[in-house]
């Protein structure tokens, strides 16, 4: 009990150092607990939705297929179940909402047993005549409730439908119109589930389906059914055929889960490791300071076990408080992240549930880390015999001299410099730890700053370098090129018009293949340009080959000069050989660009285009004028897309800021704690210098010099560490067709350097105050 009191008083006396240690421990535990809970809850929610709503193992899009023939696909060996729906993108009218809204109408048959990608009724009732379910994020974005009505434009007719409830299907957990969009926009795009008979009748496509999904028999690989399916579906205008892993919603969700899982077990460990090391250094110092006391306690008869338990208590206090604070804040952080996830993904079963298993693991890590740090620091006490402990320690052995090894330093350094460098070389472990801590801190801050900048750069690249049009009008089907262009020029307010042809294609290179968006564009076009983010230059499509995006090139392992095979099922063409003329560095999506006339030639189609790009300052007037044009699938105003994207990305800003602050916390905790210990160890030396006639500022310069040197030494490995962190993140994000830039701006490094330097500066100020208030008489009368 008395020893416990002693421990509590010792901790209280050095409370700032212990608080810093507890802060690092709690940040680590908070991240570990929240990320793991998020990972578990997201994984569980995904698996639950997939299992209960029978998510397909493969997917296909065709132009049209009689619904009666879908069942025949089950005759293909390996296919256990096939389901079909009719899926149509239409425009919707929402009163008071000026942007164009696209609804993806999806048919479903609530009577069909064992239906794949089943619709889950989240709220309200299943739709009756002239009713539909909409996805919850779309409903929430517009404040819709059951019974509200909205108007859709289908085949040139305005049809009013009533919302009977909200629903969700496993193939649309992430609801995005276009994989090329950076973020979901529930205000302008939603999913509507309508009873099959009703939708096909409304669309005039009774008995038709165009979207198929398949469940494979147990143990069957997708590659075994791929070709038979292609053969069976080619007659129906196969547009694409993909396994589950390439299904867009799953691809993004799976990448998100992988990234969270990766972060959960790496980033927190940095903070916990830092806390353990600080604890180790502090306990080592406590043992040195309490050497005499340890001797006396041992002489009194306290056992080694009792004493080690006593010193273990120091770490357990840090572990316990860090664990409790970390877990409580982890619960709050997990709630915040869950809200963020739910704003992106339609996962009604996603909850911020607290996992008792992870709670126990987090607490065990906190207590174990605390115990480990103190045990490592205090173990030297076990070797002390009482008589030896009551004597001052023998002076340390001098092992080599840094300045003897590097004699040229003598020409640059004063005595202060010698002292600082020798202190670094003689406290190798501690110096290495400070360097490591500064490296991590520098890398985390630079990494986060770089990514905050990167989002700005990505938006700039897309909206000011590549897609510089003001408005995009997507047609339902390809239109004749010249009439389409003429209609564009006729639009009031259109200052510039270009037309492009966009098609989903399948690219193959050797045994590798990937789905990609093929864009046919004019060589002299200026509204949509191919922009290379690394080379900061624009590339022109030319005849005789394609320009491949870096994401697609990575997936296909293709380089300039490679020859790809392209299937364009929507155009009815297969295995077209295309040489790669150039690789364009882009960050998102697998894309391939080709000169428009060249595309018409290789597809052997007349001049056509399916997207009109406009330069205009009257986008809203044009949208209003074309509101009821049934050949148009969607109209988007680029300024609004950019604004929405920025708003969505800003929601991540808080997390980046938090991570930056955590990086600063590492730097500050390490530097101030080690400086404080160093000051305590060397106060006799500093007092002597004060007696010799040095001002506190001069004495502090010795320590400052040491920390500035360590700061520079720490920042050097920090630079490749940033690169490695980015490589790691890209590895985690790679499956989601993303390739984030690996380069880091000078501004990011400067920001990290300045923030780390600020920690050194603040620590130096504090040291200077302490040096100025040293009682020289007290310090110097102590025996060495």
């Amino acid at each position: 009990m008395l020893l416990l009191k002693k421990a509590a008083r010792t901790v209280w006396r050095a409370k700032k150092a212990y608080i810093a240690c507890i802060v690092l421990m709690s940040i680590g535990i908070m991240m570990y607990f929240s990320f793991n809970m998020l990972y578990l809850n997201l994984q569980t929610a995904m698996e639950q939705v997939y299992r209960e709503q029978r998510f397909g193992d493969g997917f296909a899009q065709v132009v049209s297929m009689p619904s009666g023939q879908v069942g025949r696909l089950e005759g293909i060996p390996g296919i256990e179940k096939a389901s079909g729906t009719l899926t149509l993108d239409v425009r919707a009218e929402i009163e008071g909402f000026t942007r164009t809204v696209t609804l993806r109408l999806v048919s479903f048959d609530s009577e069909e047993e064992d239906r794949l990608n089943d619709v889950f009724l989240e709220s309200g009732a299943l739709p009756g005549p002239e009713e539909m379910l909409v996805n919850s994020t779309f409903a929430a974005a517009h404040g819709f409730s059951h019974g509200d009505q909205l108007e859709i434009i289908l085949n040139g007719q305005r049809i009013t439908l009533t919302i009977s409830g909200t629903g969700q299907s496993p193939d649309a957990i992430l609801v995005m119109r276009d994989p090329a969009d950076l973020v979901p926009d529930p205000e302008t795009f939603g999913i509507a589930f309508i009873p099959a008979g009703q939708l096909t009748a409304m669309a005039g496509r009774t008995g038709e389906v165009n979207a198929l999904s398949f469940r494979l028999e147990d143990g069957v690989d997708w590659r075994e059914v791929e070709h038979p399916l292609e053969d069976a579906l080619s007659a129906h205008g196969l547009i694409y055929l993909i396994p589950r892993k390439d299904q867009f919603s799953h691809l993004m969700l799976d990448a998100e889960i992988t990234a969270i899982g990766g972060m959960a077990n790496s980033v927190p460990m940095v903070f916990i490791l830092m806390a353990v090391t600080i604890l180790y250094i502090m306990l080592k110092r406590v043992i040195e300071q309490e050497r005499g006391q340890i001797g006396i306690l041992k002489a009194f008869g306290f056992s080694d076990r009792a004493l080690i338990m006593h010193y273990l208590g120091y770490g357990m206090i840090v572990g316990f408080l860090g664990g409790i604070i970390g877990i409580f804040s982890g619960v709050a952080l997990s709630g915040y992240y869950t809200d963020l996830i739910v704003s992106f993904y339609n996962l009604p079963s996603m909850r911020a549930d607290i996992s008792l298993q992870y709670l126990a693991i987090a607490m065990a890590i906190a207590l174990g880390s605390g115990a480990l740090g103190s045990l490592m620091g205090a173990r030297s006490m076990l070797d002390l015999r009482p008589c030896e402990a009551m004597r001052p320690p023998a002076p340390p052995l001098v092992k080599g001299d840094l300045l003897a090894k590097l004699p040229f330093l003598r020409y640059f350094l004063s005595s202060y410099g010698f002292m600082a460098l020798r202190s670094i070389s003689r406290n190798k472990m501690r110096s290495a730890f400070i360097v490591m801590g500064i490296s991590f801190s520098f890398a985390i801050i630079a990494f986060m700053t770089s990514y905050m900048e990167m989002f700005g750069d990505l938006l700039d690249a897309r909206f000011t370098q590549s897609q510089v049009f003001d408005m995009r009008i997507s047609m339902n089907t390809p239109q004749s090129y010249t009439p389409l262009m003429e209609s564009g020029f006729r639009l009031e307010g259109a200052q510039g018009v270009e037309a492009i042809l966009e098609l989903p294609v399948l690219l193959s290179h050797g045994h590798l293949n990937t789905g990609a968006l093929l864009t046919g564009m004019r060589e002299d076009g200026h509204l949509y340009r191919i922009y290379d983010v690394e080379r900061n230059t624009h590339l022109r499509p030319s005849r005789g080959g394609v320009i491949l995006s870096s994401v697609a090139a990575n997936e296909l392992n293709a380089v300039r000069g490679s020859v790809l095979l392209m299937d364009a099922p929507s155009a009815g063409r297969e295995e077209i050989s295309l040489p790669v003329l150039d690789i364009v560095s882009e960050n998102f999506g697998a894309a391939v660009y080709i000169e428009l006339e060249s595309l018409w030639e290789i597809l052997d189609v007349p001049p056509t285009a399916n997207t009109l790009l406009l330069q205009t300052d009257q986008a809203m007037d044009i949208i209003n004028a074309l509101r009821y044009n049934d050949t148009i699938a969607s109209m988007t105003e680029q300024a609004q897309v950019r604004q929405h994207t920025e708003t969505m990305l800003e929601s991540n800003g808080a997390m980046f800021l938090f991570m930056q602050l955590a990086g600063i916390a590492i730097a500050y905790a390490i530097i101030t704690n080690t400086a404080s210990i160093s000051l305590s160890e060397r106060k006799r030396e500093y007092a002597t210098l004060r007696v010799l006639g040095m001002q506190p500022k001069e004495v502090c310069e010795i320590m400052s010099f040491e920390y500035w040197v360590l700061l520079i030494l720490g920042m050097i490995p920090g630079i490749p560490l940033v690169y490695l962190m980015k490589l790691g993140l890209n590895d985690m994000m790679g499956s989601a067709d993303m390739s984030l830039p690996l380069d880091t701006s000078v501004t990011s490094y400067l920001t990290a350097g300045v923030l780390c330097a600020l920690a050194v500066f603040i620590s130096n100020l504090s040291a200077r105050r302490r040096i100025a208030t040293f009682d020289m008489v007290d310090v110097l009368k102590e025996r060495e």
Partner: protein
């Protein structure tokens, strides 16, 4: 009589130790003269170290005056006291207080760097008989060697006054004598004032004057007409 380098008038010092106020000095009056070798002698707790600390500007008195060449340093601000220590006094401690991360030579150079008119460190190293040991770190030197380096370091600034607090307290007899020889040489060769504080009455025999301290007061001042060379003192 030569000029007074230090004049102490009515010096008092009170410490608070917990709930108790300790009167370390109760009104000490004395002077130290230019170029003399003075020993301040007294038992433990008599206040002699407090006198040295105040004279050296590392402690401040509760009352009284400390006149250095006629200027009262007792009212100096910390920055002025630092300047005083830098230019006027050199300290030698019982436990040497060498900088562990500097070699013997560098310890002396460090002090020399602070002065506008230093004594060359190499010369001092030779004078204290350690010219072959300049590259050694303190932990590689014996106690006597460390104390000689500490004296050389204190002298390197070329101070007016050398204040030594029990300089032989941690040394054996013969090593102690060699240290006293260095102090005496500095006193005679450079004509500098040396004040040695000790409880060792044997050392008093080599002093020009002996100030006896008891209970925070100067009990007596004895002029030693025939100071002994360090080699002839004994304890």
């Amino acid at each position: 009589m030569t000029e007074k380098i230090l004049e102490i008038k009515g010096l008092t010092k009170e410490y608070r130790m917990g709930q108790v106020i300790v009167h370390a000095l109760r009104g000490a009056d004395f002077s130290i003269y230019e170029g003399e070798f003075v020993v301040i002698l007294g038992p433990s707790g008599s206040g002699k170290s407090t006198i040295l600390n105040i004279c050296g500007g590392i402690d401040i008195p509760t009352g009284g005056q400390v006149l250095y060449r006629g200027t009262d340093i007792s009212s100096y601000k910390p920055k002025q006291l630092t300047q005083y220590r830098r230019t006027a006094v050199g300290f030698v401690f019982q436990f040497y207080n060498l900088i562990q991360n500097l070699t013997a030579f560098e310890n002396i150079s460090l002090s020399a760097e602070l002065s506008g008119s230093p004594i060359p460190p190499a010369q001092l190293l030779e004078q204290v008989g350690l010219d072959g040991r300049g590259g050694h770190f303190p932990s590689q030197l014996s106690g006597g060697e460390q104390q000689r380096i500490a004296i050389a370091r204190a002298i390197a600034k070329n101070p007016d006054l050398l204040l030594c607090d029990e300089p032989t307290g941690a040394l054996d007899f013969s090593t102690g004598v060699s240290v006293l020889r260095v102090l005496r040489d500095f006193n005679t060769e450079y004509k500098k004032t040396v004040a040695v504080i000790t409880h060792n009455a044997g050392i008093a025999d080599m002093a020009d004057r002996v100030l006896q301290v008891r209970d925070g007061l100067i009990e007596s001042v004895t002029v030693n007409e025939h100071p002994l060379p360090p080699e002839e003192v004994s304890w």
